[in-house]
Symmetry: C2
Subunit: 704 residues, 2 copies
C-alpha cells in the first residue's frame, strides 16, 4: 500500500521533519490547506458549502442569480484571518474574488452572480492577516512604551507590504508602495514622540487600514480545492411542460397527424401558458414485431406502432417519420413554437427496433444470444422482441458513444435545446456523465430531463451526473402524508443542490390509479398540486385537460386505447376541458416568483388530513404564496389551518390579507389560526397570495 503524504504538509516539510506516517488522506476541499507550501499554513478551511460529495459532482445554479457560498474558516491562536471567495468560468479561466464576511461561529459568507450558463469553479482562500492582527492588538494597547514598540512593529509590516507591492505586477502598485512607505515613516515618527493620542491615531488611521488590506501577504494562504458549479438558464429552474403526440394532432378524425398539425396547435398550447412543448419520438418506427393497439403482440396492416420502437428503412434517430413530415416541417415548427414562447423538447430513447439501420451497419453495438441472434429486451419471462437495447459496454463502445452524442448534436443543430431522455437508468451512467458534459461544454444552454422512474439513489445519481431536471415519484404521491414527506425530502440537502424536480400528474405511461375514472376535481387538484409544489411540472395532453381517465384494465397504469400504440383524436374544444384552469394556474405561476423556485417550501398544519396546506416564498423577492388543497374528490372539507407566521414573516399582532388568485376573493386574516372550507365541486383549492402588510404594498391590483 502506497504511503501518501498528508494534505497539510506536502513537499519539503515532511522530508525535513521525518517520514510522514499518515496515510489514506483523500484530497478534498479542506485538504489543500498548505499543499506545496514550505512553511506551515495557519489558516484552515474546514468546509466550503454548498458542495456535493466533496466536489465529485457539481452544484447547480442559474445564470444571473446570486450563488451563495459559506466557508468554515479559522486559524490557530488569536490573530485575524481574512477569507475570500474565488470563482471562475471554465471557458474563461479568469479568477474573480469576493471578500467573505464573518457571520459568527467561524462561518464566512459571500455570493457571486455567474453571468451566463456554463460550468464554473469556486474555491475559498484564507490567510492570517498580519496587519489586521496588528491593528486589532494595537487598538487595545494603552501603555506608551508598549504603543511605541507596536508602532515600530507596524511600520515593519508596512515596509514589507510596500516591497510586495513593488514586486506585484498589473496594478498601480508603484503609488501604493510609496504610500505604504509614507505610512511606515509616519508610524516610526509617532513612535519617537510623546503624544499618546497621536500614536493611537497614527496606528488606527482608516485609510492606512484600507491600503494595507489591499496588499496582504498571501504567500501562506490556505486554498480549498475548487468545486464545480453547473450554471443553467432560468428554464432549468422554472418550466411548464406540455407533452403531445404529433400523430394525434390532426383535426380530422382518423388522419395521421403531422408536424404541420402540431404547428396549428401551438396557439392552443401557448394559450394555456406552457413554455416547453415536448414530443415523444418522431423517428421512423420499426415494422418487425410492431405492437398493435393496446400493446397487442400482432399489429394489423396500417397499425402505427410505438414511437419508441425507433428505426426502420427510412432511418433512425436522426430521421423523421415520413408520415409526420420533413425536416423542413420540423424547422418551421421549432421557429413557430419560438414565436409562441414555446420551446420544442425532443425525446431521446437510445434503443432500436429490429429494423434500425444500426442493427445491420453496426452489429457490434448489440449483444448476441448464443444462437447468434440479437438480444432483445427482456425481463424474464417477459420478452420485448420489438426492442433491441444498445450494448453500452460493447467492445466498440467508444464509437457507439460518439454516435449517440452526434444524435444530440444533430437535433441541437436543428434548434432543439431541451431533451427528455428516456429511461436513462437502463443505460451506462458513465455515458450520461460524459455526453452531458460534452454537450453542455459546447452548448451550455442545452437542458436534459431524466425520465428515470427507478430507485431513489439511482434517480439522484443521474441528477448528480448532469441531468438538468428529473422526473419524480409525484405521480404516485397522493395523500397529505405522502406529499409532505416527499416534497420535504426533495427540498432537503444534499439533493436540493443537484436534483431539480419536474413533476407530472400523468404521462403516456402512467395513468395513476388515483385518476382511474376520476372526476374533474381530481384532475384539478392534481394539476394545482403539481403547479404549486414544484417549480417545473408538466402534463401529458390533451389527455389531461380532457380528463382521460380510462385504464386498459383495473389496476393497470396503462391507458385504454393508449396513443402509444394507435392514433387518437382529441376534441380539444370540448366545453368541459380543464384548459381554462390550466391557463389560470400557469398565469399565477408566471406572476409569482415564489412558485418559480424549488426553495422556500413549508408545509402548514391543518386539523383535517384531507386538506394539505403549504406556503412558498422566494429567497430574493417579496412574494409569498399559500396553497390549500382538498384531496377529497367528492366531499366538501373544512379545517383549522395553523400558519407558521414567523416563517412567513408575518407580525402576529397585525392583520394580513390573503387574495385567492383562483376564486378572486380577498380575506383579512388575524393570527395563525384560520378557518378553511373547500368544495371540490366548485374548486378544490385556494392559491392565496399573502400580503403581509395590506395597504403598504406597491402592487395596486391584488385581484384580476
Amino acid at each position: 500500500m502506497a504511503r501518501i503524504e498528508r494534505g497539510t504538509r506536502r513537499g519539503k516539510a515532511g522530508a525535513a521533519v521525518g517520514s510522514v506516517a499518515a496515510a489514506g488522506g483523500t484530497s478534498d476541499p479542506a485538504a489543500a490547506d498548505s499543499a506545496g507550501q514550505s512553511a506551515p499554513v495557519r489558516a484552515m478551511i474546514d468546509a466550503v458549502l454548498p458542495c456535493v460529495d466533496g466536489g465529485r459532482f457539481a452544484v447547480k445554479a442559474i445564470a444571473g442569480e446570486a450563488f451563495e457560498v459559506h466557508a468554515h474558516a479559522f486559524a490557530d491562536g488569536h490573530e485575524q484571518i481574512r477569507v475570500v471567495l474565488r470563482w471562475c468560468a471554465e471557458r474563461e479561466s479568469v479568477w474573480h474574488e469576493v471578500a467573505m464576511q464573518a457571520e459568527g461561529n467561524d462561518v464566512w459568507r459571500a455570493a457571486f452572480v455567474p453571468p451566463v450558463p456554463g460550468r464554473y469553479l469556486y474555491e475559498v482562500c484564507a490567510w492570517v492577516d498580519a496587519f489586521r492582527s496588528w491593528r486589532d492588538g494595537f487598538a487595545r494597547r494603552i501603555e506608551p512604551d508598549d504603543l511605541r514598540l507596536a508602532l515600530r512593529a507596524g511600520a515593519m509590516l508596512l515596509r514589507a507590504a510596500a516591497a510586495r507591492s513593488a514586486s506585484a505586477s498589473g496594478r498601480d502598485s508603484g503609488g501604493d508602495g510609496r504610500q505604504l512607505r509614507h505610512y511606515a515613516e509616519a508610524l516610526e515618527q509617532a513612535a519617537v514622540g510623546e503624544d499618546l493620542l497621536a500614536m493611537q491615531a497614527a496606528g488606527l488611521d482608516q485609510s492606512l487600514a484600507e491600503l494595507a488590506d489591499a496588499h496582504p501577504d498571501r504567500s501562506h494562504a490556505a486554498h480549498s480545492a475548487p468545486l464545480p458549479l453547473t450554471v443553467d438558464r432560468v428554464r432549468a429552474r422554472f418550466s411548464t411542460w406540455y407533452e403531445m403526440f404529433p400523430r394525434s394532432a390532426s383535426p380530422v378524425l382518423g388522419r395521421h397527424g403531422t408536424l404541420r398539425d402540431v404547428e396549428a396547435r401551438l396557439p392552443y398550447v401557448a394559450a394555456m401558458g406552457f413554455d416547453v412543448l415536448y414530443l415523444p419520438p418522431i423517428h421512423p418506427i420499426g415494422r418487425t414485431y410492431r405492437k398493435g393497439p393496446n400493446n397487442t403482440l400482432q399489429a394489423a396492416p396500417g397499425d402505427v406502432g410505438s414511437p419508441w420502437a425507433i428505426g426502420a428503412d427510412e432511418g433512425g434517430h436522426k430521421e423523421i417519420l415520413p408520415e409526420l413530415g420533413t425536416i423542413e416541417d420540423f424547422r418551421r415548427l421549432v421557429a413557430q413554437a419560438r414565436e409562441h414562447g414555446l420551446e420544442i423538447a425532443l425525446d431521446m430513447a437510445f434503443q432500436c427496433s429490429p429494423d434500425h439501420p444500426y442493427v445491420t451497419t453496426r452489429p457490434q453495438w448489440f449483444q448476441r444470444r448464443p444462437d447468434g441472434s440479437v438480444q432483445y429486451a427482456e425481463n424474464p419471462p417477459k420478452r420485448y422482441q420489438d426492442i433491441y437495447p444498445l450494448n453500452f459496454d460493447s467492445e466498440d463502445w467508444q464509437a457507439l458513444w460518439a454516435e449517440l452524442k452526434s444524435v444530440f448534436e444533430h437535433w441541437i443543430a436543428e434548434g432543439v435545446m431541451i431533451f427528455r431522455v428516456d429511461n436513462p437508468h437502463t443505460k451506462a451512467f458513465a455515458f450520461w456523465e460524459w455526453v452531458i458534459a460534452e454537450i453542455k461544454h459546447q452548448h451550455p444552454n442545452v437542458l436534459f430531463l431524466s425520465e428515470a422512474f427507478t430507485r431513489p439513489k439511482l434517480m439522484y445519481r443521474l441528477a448528480k451526473l448532469g441531468f438538468s431536471q428529473s422526473y419524480t415519484y409525484f405521480t404516485w404521491r397522493n395523500t397529505r402524508a405522502e406529499l409532505t414527506e416527499y416534497f420535504t425530502e426533495l427540498g432537503a440537502e444534499p439533493q436540493r443542490l443537484f436534483f431539480r424536480a419536474n413533476v407530472w400528474p400523468n404521462t403516456p405511461d402512467i395513468l395513476n390509479e388515483h385518476l382511474h375514472g376520476a372526476p374533474r376535481s381530481v384532475f384539478a387538484s392534481r394539476l394545482i398540486l403539481a403547479a404549486t409544489l414544484s417549480a417545473s411540472y408538466g402534463i401529458y395532453g390533451p389527455a389531461y385537460e380532457l380528463m382521460e381517465n380510462a385504464p386498459l384494465k383495473p389496476g393497470s397504469e396503462e391507458y385504454l386505447d393508449s396513443e402509444k400504440y394507435q392514433l387518437r383524436h382529441w376534441p380539444i374544444e370540448q366545453p368541459d376541458s380543464l384548459s381554462g384552469l390550466v391557463a389560470m394556474v400557469n398565469r399565477i405561476r408566471r406572476e409569482n416568483p415564489a412558485l418559480q423556485t424549488q426553495e422556500g417550501l413549508r408545509f402548514m398544519a391543518t386539523d383535517n388530513e384531507q386538506l394539505i396546506a403549504y406556503a412558498k416564498r422566494h429567497p430574493g423577492e417579496d412574494n409569498l404564496i399559500l396553497a390549500v388543497v382538498n384531496l377529497d374528490p367528492h366531499h366538501r372539507q373544512s379545517c383549522w389551518l395553523e400558519l407558521d407566521l414567523a416563517w412567513m414573516g408575518i407580525d402576529a399582532a397585525r392583520p394580513f390579507q390573503v387574495d385567492d388568485l383562483l376564486a378572486q376573493h380577498s380575506y383579512e386574516w388575524h393570527g395563525a389560526r384560520n378557518f378553511i372550507i373547500l368544495d371540490p365541486d366548485v374548486m378544490p383549492a385556494h392559491i392565496f397570495k399573502v400580503r403581509r402588510h395590506p395597504g403598504t404594498e406597491t402592487d395596486p391590483a391584488a385581484l384580476r
Copy 2:
C-alpha cells in the same frame, strides 16, 4: 486553468471518444468508480459511510470491536451486483475482504474487527456479477427454447470463469477450473435435452452458484477511494481521570510534595476507581517573572510558581523539577501506578518560561519584538511576561517541530502513554496533525487529550487532526436545556465519528460559578452527570472530592489560593469527603457497558425542568441504564417521567424492574409514565439499571 478529466472516464476512454470537457472533478470515494479502466464501469459506489470530510480525516474506532460500514452501491439496468468491504492495517499492507449484505434501498452493510490499535484503511468494491445476473434471469425463464439458449449462455460464463481461475494464482484454482468446466458441460448437455426440470435443476445448482461466486470477473469493478480509520485501545473510549498536583501530595503540611508522595497516594486514587492519573507539568519552573500566590505579579522568595511556566537552569520539557524527585522516582511511580490499575498521563504545555534552555540555545524559535527582546504572551492590554510562546512558523520550524516530537518520545520511553495537551488551539494545527500521526505510527497505543477550550469548530478540527479525546463545554453546561442540547450535539454525526468527549466538572483553571460556595449536592450531581453522560470524565482532586468551592473573587473562575501558584495541603481523610460516592459511581461505570460508550444516549421527558433524565444503552451488550438527576441543589423535586419504551426495548404491556444502583432499591414499573422524587440532601440522583424482563435475566445479584 487546467482541465482535468472526469473521475469516471480517465485514460484511453476520453481520448477515444473525444476531448473530455468536464473540469473540476475533485476526487472522492465515489470518484474512483472507473479510474484507469478502458471500458465502462457499470457498478457505482455513491457513498461509503462512515466517512469524515470525504476521507480527509480518519474515523475513530476501537481495537477488538466491530467497525460497521455502509455503502450505497448500484448499477444501471437490472443486473445483479456484488459488493465487498476491503480493509487493511496500514503496517501490514494486506487487504482483507468481507462480503457486504444488501439492506434494501441500495444500501449494503458489512463490518470488520480491527484486531489491534493502529491506522487502517477501508474501501468498497462493487461489480456487476455476470453469473448472479444470469442465474436471476434463468430462474424466471419457463420456455424450453429460452431455457436452452440460456443454458448455453451460462456455460459460456462458466468457461470464462474457468479461464480466470486458471490464470489466478495463490489458490487451488486448478481444481476449481476443472470443476467449472465440468459444470459448463453439464449445462450444455442439459441444453440439448428435453427435460425441462433437468434444465432448471442444472442451471440453479447451489454448489455451482457457490463455485461461480468464488470466481467473479472483477476486471470492471468499481473501487471507492480508501478511507482512513484510527483504531485505539479501549481507554480512548472509556476512561476515568483524576488530576492532582504532585507538589501538594505531601502528607505533611507545608512540605513540598514529591513523586514519592504521589506514589503513596496511589491506593487512595485507585480505591476511588480511576484509571488515569494525570499530573500537571512536572518540569523545572522558571524564576523570571515568576507568579506569586493567587497569580500576583511578584513572587516572594520561596514561592513555587506555576508549573506551566516551564523551564529553568535545571532544564526544560524533558527534565523533572528537583523538588519533585528524580527520573528514577518517576519510573517507580509509573510502575507502581500500573500495579494499581492506573496510567500516568502527563501534561504537554509547549511554551517556555524566560529561563527555559531553548531561549538561549534556540533563540530562533521565539518571536522578537522590534527592540530585539523576546515576544512574551499577551492579550493586549494584558501581558504574560512569564511565558514565551514558541513560534511554530519560525524559519527554523522543522527543527522546532522535531524537538517537540522528541519531548513526547522522551516520556513515551519513560512509560507514559497518555498526554493531556495544553491549549493546542494556540499552536499550529498542522503541527498536531503531523506529530500525532508520527507518534501513533510508532506507538499506536499512545493517546492524546486536547485541552482546547475554544470555539466549537476549532475544537472539532483538533479532534479531526488526531486528538484521541477532547475537553468539552460540559463545565459550563448546567441547566437541563443546556445539557440536553450539548450532549445531543456530541452524539450526532459527523462529530461523534471523530470527537470523543472527556468531561470535567472542575479543573485547576475552572471553578464554575455553579460551584461557588456550592453544597455537597451540587458536587454530587455534577459528578454523576459527568460520569453517566460521558464515557470519559475526570475530576481535579482532591479539590473536587473535598468540595473546594471558594473562588478567587466573585465572578472569577479561578480558585482562591489556587495550587497553580502555591502549595496546598489536602486533608483527604476528611469524613465528609465525596470519595465514597466517587468510588461507587466509578464502580457502576465499570460494571455497566452502557456507561462506557458515547453512543446510545437518549434524553427522556420529565415535566419538571429541574429533573433531567436520560437512558444509555450499549450497541452490542444487553445493558440499559436510566439516570435521573435533580439539578436543584436545595429542594426536593418531583416529576412524572415519560420514558421512550420503544427506544428502551421495553414491552409497554409488561412490568419491568429498575434497580437504583446508588440507593440500592428496586422498583417495579409499568408503562412509560413513572413518578420520581429526589431529595438533594439525601442523594440528588438515581442511576437505575433497567431490567427489561425481571426474573429472566442471568445476573442473580441486581443489587449490591
